[in-house]
């Protein structure tokens, strides 16, 4: 046996191992397919009448709320993130220091903890509830996203050639005019691919909002699925919720890939 192995050329050895890995793969998949009790799996995770029950409310309420949380968190994060990024790049040390501290502290603690703190801790501590339907969740998402986006925005601003700022200042523009008219428009173009990526990550992270109290009308997809599981003693609602996430994220991932390709080309 050993002499037979030694006698093989390198290419044949590679082929041999490839053959082995195919066989192992087929055996494992086959074993899985045979071992699983399919009628039961389908009955508990994808029961057709429970799937049918989910619609249309899972789209009209849960998916709509997920999208709202995403848009609110993204917009809030973008605005606050821009402020933080500009502070980080500021000439004044206290601004830089405050911004750096905020970014480090916020990013160093899990998003779920922030959501719980703002949704549950804040009302207890201050006796105030963040008003409006999406308030607490959207606020937590905005505050945390801002810290991540600040770094993206800063990188975008720093990626704009230094000569652009020099040319703008040489024409007599103030620093802020140069930022608004010359630097930021070019920086945002560079930031579109990373920001779109963050948008998708945020869309999935909105599921953490399910941890704080929500009313029937403000349930997002994960909470919808979870409550569905509890009510129907069946995992189907959560599976359907997962599929709705997929229906949202996959097209967006494709769009990002295209945007990135385009951006790379125009360089």
């Amino acid at each position: 046996m050993l002499t037979w192995w030694r006698g093989l050329s390198n290419r044949r050895r590679v082929r041999f191992w490839r053959g082995v890995s195919y066989v192992v793969f087929v055996v494992l998949v086959g074993a899985f397919l045979i071992a699983v009790d399919w009628p039961r799996v389908i009955d508990t995770m994808f029961r057709p009448e429970v799937v049918a029950e989910q619609f249309p409310d899972i789209l009209l309420i849960a998916a709509k709320n997920t999208i709202w949380y995403t848009i609110l968190g993204f917009t809030g994060g973008l605005i606050l993130g821009l402020v933080l990024a500009l502070m980080r790049l500021s000439q004044s040390a206290p601004f830089r220091w405050a911004s750096a501290t905020y970014i480090d502290v916020v990013r160093g603690i899990p998003l779920l903890v922030w959501i719980l703190l703002i949704g549950l801790g804040l009302p207890i501590a201050l006796g105030v509830r963040v008003p409006t339907t999406y308030g607490a969740g959207a606020l937590a998402l905005s505050l945390v996203m801002a810290a991540y986006m600040a770094e993206t925005i800063r990188a975008g601003i720093e990626a704009v050639d230094r000569g652009q700022m020099e040319a703008a200042r040489s024409l007599g523009m103030s620093h802020s005019k140069a930022m608004v008219w010359i630097i930021l428009p070019q920086a945002f173009r560079l930031m579109i691919p990373p920001l779109t990526n963050e948008f998708i990550l945020l869309l999935k992270d909105t599921s953490l909002v399910s941890a704080i109290g929500v009313t029937v009308t403000t349930k997002e997809l994960t909470r919808w699925g979870r409550d569905g599981v509890i009510n129907s003693a069946n995992a189907t609602p959560l599976v359907v919720a997962g599929l709705v996430y997929l229906a949202l994220t996959i097209p967006m991932t494709r769009i990002v890939a295209r945007v990135e390709k385009k951006a790379a080309k125009s360089k």
Binding site: A167, G172, M173, K177, I182, Q186
Partner: protein
């Protein structure tokens, strides 16, 4: 008469590296001064100090008699008087050619869109790129980009123009078109401070040539003297090396 630019005892260091070691010279109104010298001699730094892209370490720089090294000086106001053309053009890449030459007019001088476009177009035509108004900078050749950059500076109607190796980044066949625009400007009486490697241009256009080496002005005089019969060996060596290359 006040000088356009007057530099007294200018020192500039980057950390431990002393780039300018006591520069004194002046540019009179309407004068064209070419600064030549080996790379690393500090000539670009000198130019950048003149409109405060670099902060002088010590010394004074007077622009039309106003000391711009004074911290109370309104830097933006001083810069409006000074047009600058960079080696790497630095056109605004996200804007059309016309927007490039109008944005500062509108945002800094507060001119109306119509007036800014009229003045911008005039200058674009003057530098010979009047038909490129809607094009984006990246679609232009280096020579065309640099001419747009000149038109952009001229549209602010500056009192003087600085050129920082304006032709060094260009393909050889494109150098001529930019130099001829610069020559026209000089003939019209524009005050110009030109850092250049183009000895021919300096010889033909400059009223005075300044030779810099290792952060000091080695020689300062009319081109017929500095470029033909310099006093210093360093100048002679430099000229020999540059002219051999041509």
């Amino acid at each position: 008469m006040t000088s356009a630019i007057e530099i007294k005892g200018l020192y500039k260091s980057f950390g431990d590296l002393e780039v300018l070691k006591g520069i004194d010279f002046r540019v009179a109104m309407g004068e064209v001064v070419c600064v030549i010298g080996p790379s690393g001699s500090g000539k670009s730094t000198l130019l950048r100090c003149v409109n405060r892209l670099e902060e002088a370490t010590s010394g004074t720089i007077l622009i039309e008699g106003e000391d711009i090294t004074d911290p109370d000086t309104d830097t933006d106001a001083v810069r409006r008087k000074i047009g600058i053309v960079f080696q790497r053009f630095n056109l605004f890449n996200h804007m059309s050619v016309l927007d490039n030459v109008t944005i500062a007019q509108r945002k800094v001088l507060g001119r109306s869109k119509e007036e800014a476009e009229r003045i911008g177009l005039e200058n674009l035509e003057k530098v010979g790129v009047g038909e490129k108004v809607d094009v984006f900078p990246r679609r232009l050749s280096g020579g065309q980009q640099q001419r747009v950059a000149i038109a952009r500076a001229l549209s602010m109607e500056p009192d003087m123009m600085l050129f920082d190796e304006a032709t060094s980044a260009l393909d050889p066949e494109l150098v001529g078109e930019v130099l001829s625009v610069m020559r026209t400007l000089a003939e019209e009486g524009m005050t110009m401070l030109v850092v250049t490697h183009e000895i021919g241009f300096a010889k033909g256009v400059a009223d005075r040539v300044v030779f810099m080496d290792e952060g000091v002005v080695v020689e300062d005089g009319p081109p017929s003297k500095v470029l033909v019969d310099p006093d210093h060996e360093r100048t002679r060596t430099f000229l020999r090396m540059v002219l051999e290359g041509e």
